[in-house]
Amino acid sequence: MSAQHMICMHNVCKSYKMGSEQLRVLKNVDFTVNKGEFTAILGPSGSGKSTLMNIIGCMDNLDSGSYELNGIPIHRTKEKELARIRNHEIGFIFQNYHLIPTYNVMQNIIMPLLMRGQDRKTAERNCREIISMLGLSDRLAHKPSELSGGQRQRVAIARALCSKPSLLLADEPTGALDQSSGAEVLALFKKLHEMGNTIVMITHDMNVAKWAHRTVDLIDGELIQ
């Protein structure tokens, strides 16, 4: 693995049992992402994009092959350490935002820092700059249900950014947004990339993928570089 590589996957396979059949979702995937890259994984529905993202995000294990993130062999890492890696190295941005409905905006944003053991006040102080960059300063006491789709996604992005991860993982980040909100979020991604963040974005939309620095196609579980 090169020092430049943040993600280095080799021969990764993943299959699920569907009734009596074994469904091969990822087939011998080789995939690398360099530090500072903005990569889009483009593929139609059912091509295995989300499975690949879950494996990259250390939320699912692989059947065979190897996966290293920042030089850490994820395929051999225990759950406790994976939780730590998810907290420190990865910032997730989901299509459906996945905000906790009972917590307000601030509580949602600082949650990864609280998980890390920071006290509430320090965590809030550390997030202030990001919150202001994303224009959420006047929405901090609101519950997610009181926000628009674009605002919710910005909260999710703020949550992903506040822990200063080495990798931002976005799964269809504009999938639930209208066109203008989607464009706004993508512009934000571009800006984050220019700030030096490494971003891997999964999408089925060619127009969204265009925003990325590099696009790879995933078709029927096979990655075409």
């Binding site: 699912d60 939780a83 997730f92 009972t102 998980m115």
Partner: protein, 449 residues
């Protein structure tokens, strides 16, 4: 994640679901209230027992003769012998202090002494009357006794004071040492003296309640006259209030007269006295009982005597109180188990409802430990809230139960025990749902919606 922050998350979740928390904790509320009440009832019971036996000396033993039994047909020399001895005893006792003329006697139903026509008499109809002589026999023959006294009670019609018609009261014939042996204290005047007994004086001492009922108040009763079976008795003293007693004469309600006076003017020899002896060492009670039986068996070979010691009575009363308390605690435990199962059910539903949230927490780095702790603490907090409400409920319920005559003594210990039970219930029953939540695979939890 810090413990205080997990608590903060729990707080937010509980505030968001106030009504659900209240419904979930109903079982615990009832359980905690039950525990507090049970402990209060137990303490009340203990206090009751302590109060009822307050006037009893732990080393005291009451000796009385059992009621004649039917069915036995033995007759003969023993009975006659006892009577002869009785007669000789009576003859022998010339001591004027004797009140002791009340001597030991056995009578048959027909009223003829056994030695005259006694061969037709059966044990079943024989009546044995304990006497001062028997008491003297016991005190001289049995070692380890510090004191002894003899008493009897009779129901007599009374008038005087505020009583317009006659009223029936318990009149107790006692010796002068009865007050000391029974730990009775005087409010006015003095207790009966030896001289009163020897001279068969018509004096009496009134129990506190009796004095109030007959004369309106204790001080008005003192030095007044009260008529017992149409004879005037001077009230020489009034007892201080004693409270209820489990054993012996209920002092508050009784009228005390000299032993010999009662026999002369009220009862004749038709009495069933009880001899009370005090063991100098409580540990020797069982051997003393055996010795007393042996002494009495010499005088009355066929007779059955009941010897009850105060310590055993206290122990029996405490034991029955403990049994009741244990039964109630068992009931409270069942309520707690039901409450705990309620919590477990609700937490299972909660884990199901919040699977996505668990997935999110895991995706952003929440470990199994954090999820486990959050759910367990949530269960504990629900239980604790239930416990606090339960304790408040018990405070509200206590006056109602007390109104029904149940003695309850609320205590901080009771409340703390109830809260302890709540925390244990929450932890035990909350653990499994929490463990299930912590084991969820992040990707599956996230896609659960």
């Amino acid at each position: 994640m810090r413990f205080t922050q997990i608590l903060d998350l729990v707080r937010i979740n509980l505030i968001q679901n106030k009504f659900k928390v209240l419904l979930t904790s109903i079982g615990i509320i009832v359980g905690a209230a039950t525990i507090v009440c049970v402990i209060a009832i137990g303490r009340g019971g203990q206090a009751d027992v302590a109060e009822q036996f307050r006037n009893l000396n732990a080393g005291a033993m009451d000796i009385s003769c059992e009621q004649p039994q039917k069915g036995s047909s033995s007759r003969g020399a023993n009975a006659a012998g006892a009577s002869v001895r009785s007669a000789s005893n009576t003859a022998k006792k010339t001591d004027p202090s004797a009140s002791k003329q009340s001597g030991r006697s056995e009578k048959n139903v027909s009223g003829y002494p056994a030695e005259l026509g006694g061969n037709t008499q059966t044990k079943s109809t024989r009546r044995i009357t304990l006497s001062v002589d028997d008491m003297d026999d016991i005190t001289s023959a049995v070692a380890g006794l510090s004191e002894a006294t003899i008493t009897y009670t009779t129901k007599q019609n009374i008038y005087g004071g505020n009583i317009e018609d006659t009223e029936s009261y318990t009149v107790a014939g006692t010796l002068s040492d009865y007050a000391r042996l029974s730990n009775l204290s005087m409010l006015f005047g003095d207790y009966l003296s030896d001289a009163d007994n020897e001279n068969k004086q018509k004096v009496c001492v009134l129990g506190y309640s009796a004095a109030k009922k007959i004369f309106g108040s204790a001080d008005q009763a003192y030095d007044s006259l009260v008529y017992i079976a149409d004879r005037p008795y001077t009230v020489g003293g009034v007892l201080a209030q004693q409270g209820t007693v489990e054993s012996g004469i209920s002092a508050d309600e009784a009228i005390f007269i000299p032993y010999a006076t009662g026999i002369k003017y009220l009862t004749g020899s038709n009495i069933s006295p009880t001899i009370t002896i005090i063991a100098s060492d409580v540990d020797n009670i069982s051997s003393i009982i055996d010795n007393v039986k042996a002494v009495l068996a010499q005088s009355y070979p066929d007779a059955e005597f009941t010897i009850s010691d105060a310590g055993s009575k206290m122990e029996a009363a405490n034991k029955s109180n403990r049994t009741l308390t244990l039964m109630l605690i068992a009931m409270a435990c069942i309520v707690f188990i039901i409450g705990g199962i309620g919590i477990m059910n609700v937490l299972f539903v909660s884990v199901k409802e919040r699977t996505e949230e668990i997935g999110i927490l895991k995706a952003i780095g929440g470990s199994k430990k954090v999820i486990l702790l959050e759910f367990i603490m949530e269960a504990c907090c629900i239980s604790l809230i239930g416990g606090l409400l339960g304790v408040l409920l018990s405070f509200a319920v206590t006056p109602v139960l007390t109104g029904f005559g149940l003695r309850m003594e609320l205590s901080v210990t009771g409340a703390l025990i109830a809260l302890g039970f709540c925390i244990v219930t929450g932890t035990v029953f909350g653990f499994y749902p929490a463990w299930k939540a912590s084991r969820l695979v992040p990707v599956e939890a996230l896609s659960s919606e």
